[in-house]
Symmetry: none
Subunit: 196 residues, 4 copies
């Protein structure tokens, strides 16, 4: 069960290189050679490990989504979390999403890029759909409880994720001075807390 570390390692190296590249250019404008240069490998290698450019993208999305999920798991699973009251727990979640996700311009950029590709690419769209469904359900599971029934929690979660995505969108275009991100996020958070 030696899990061919070389193979997986190389792939990861390439996906990380693409991640780097996306900070500068769109996926379309990023050439295979750009990625290989960033990865420090010969461009032929990319064709050896991946079927074609789209295949790289598809694996990259898995990688990015997985990264996102891990971060989320780490946060949700952190020891002290279990000791919190529901209100405090939700505050923690908000705090994390607000600052580590929504306002992380780098992450937002990459997700907008993926959203756009999904517009015209069914395979990408499927992956994105799956990721958001999971994210919304996880959230619903975490906020429901007590008075909040499952159905309301679900609707709520969709709204929350939509709002966060919208704010993430804004973060890629506006400077901090133009939109008072913190305030808006704060206000929204309070509102949600009151509802729950």
């Amino acid at each position: 069960m030696a899990r061919k570390p070389v193979r997986e390692e190389r792939k990861r190296q390439i996906l990380k290189a693409l991640d780097q590249c996306l900070l500068e250019k769109s996926f379309q404008n990023t050439s295979i050679k750009d990625i290989s240069r960033a990865a420090g490998v010969n461009h032929g290698v990319l064709h050896y490990y991946f079927a074609n450019k789209e295949d790289i993208l598809l694996h990259y999305i898995d990688y990015a989504v997985q990264d996102f999920k891990s971060q989320m798991q780490d946060m949700l699973g952190s020891k002290n979390m279990s000791d919190l009251s529901r209100g405090e727990f939700i505050k923690e979640v908000f705090g994390f999403v607000n600052h580590r996700i929504t306002l992380d311009r780098r992450l937002s950029k990459i997700f907008v890029e993926i959203w756009e590709i999904a517009l015209y690419n069914e395979a990408v769209r499927a992956k994105l759909r799956q990721a958001y469904v999971e994210w919304i359900q996880t959230l619903a599971g975490n906020i429901s409880g007590g008075s909040t029934d499952r159905d309301a929690a679900s609707v709520m979660s969709v709204a929350m994720v939509a709002f966060w995505e919208g704010m993430a969108l804004f973060s890629t275009v506006f400077e901090n001075g133009e939109i008072r991100f913190e305030e808006v996020l704060e206000r929204f958070q309070q509102q949600i807390l009151e509802i729950l």
Copy 2:
């Protein structure tokens, strides 16, 4: 003596053709020849009327934004609006945005496309920023009044537009069955109305 509009007419024709094309392919993947084919003109014409491909895009964004604004103006300016109570007025605005904007997949698609281009193109980013600032301010102007002070209205407007954008994003990826768009929008609307 009325032969002046040729130029403007042709430009419009080309921008409309691009609009068509964007339903099928990303701007990048839409070639000048694709656009010219859709417009039913020789490809040289596109270079006659526009400096280059980016210039077409920039004009297209103006066109799309203008179209959006016009729709909004029409709605806000409609006679019966002035007779409505504030609550009813806001309901009208919501209804319009929800169904004519947020859930208009075609429109959402185009805006996601523009958002993505803005990620790596300062000129496009500037146009987008400007459009959203105006849209947010218009909204703030319309919802403030009575107990709601200007500042709160501004924060509120940002949140609303962010939410709508997020929902628009979802509309490009999810089918109606997967996300209960109507319900979420409805719920959000009620919440806003309570706050105001």
Copy 3:
């Protein structure tokens, strides 16, 4: 015999415009629209007065050569010239050629441009050949006399023109500091005078 002044005037205006353009770009890189812009006329006009782009060039060469000849005639025909001794006369010619022709970077540039076109264009080559034959013969006629027989004068003239052309070539590439143009021309001049 009203010599259609409009027609000739327009043509001249266009040729002057080309002259202007050649300071910035090669003939090849100068588009018909560039010329028309410089001439302040619609580009269609150029096709009305000239058969095609090459035709403009051919007429331009005549114009440039004619201009050169006129300058030369003016100089040679100037009153006081006839009163000079042969040595002084030749000095005058040298002075004129040195400063008004050879070291006139603008003129040199245009002639190098024409020389190059002549390389691959028989019609242009013919015009250039004709112009230089005339220029050499005129020179030979002016320096022969006394001890110098016609044959030697002819050989001499070729050498002189070749030298001047070479220096003109240099003037388009070197700055004054790099090559002591004045000194070289002076030295050559003395040598010629001694021979004659």
Copy 4:
């Protein structure tokens, strides 16, 4: 293990192909496809080995200048040269330049082409300047000695090269019958020898 030269070999092959092409068309009129056709390679190859068309030209100039220099070195370095008296040495140099350089129409053509490009291209101009400075200095070094001081030799060299270039220019336009090249070169040579 000796497979390195592929790259250099290909580049040389391409530069030779350009050399061929320049006999028929100007550099501007020579398309990348023309060159690749002449080289017997796919046009993509040219973009693989050179950054762009100008890059090909710049390398071509180096190649042409180097070729010229090698010929000169070979001639100057030929064994028997060292045994010659200064007068005979200079005669040899003249003979070589006259027939192998100045009257080599192919070479002249190419240099006129380069001169013209230099008119509007600073990078090319720089290369040309450098080549001529070296050529003039080499010449000055070779003709100075004895009574001729360095300064006079320098001025002389400029004059000689200018003359040769002028004659080369003529060789591209005139047929042998029209200009008695041999005689003119001969006459000039004698004159120079007398001066030195």
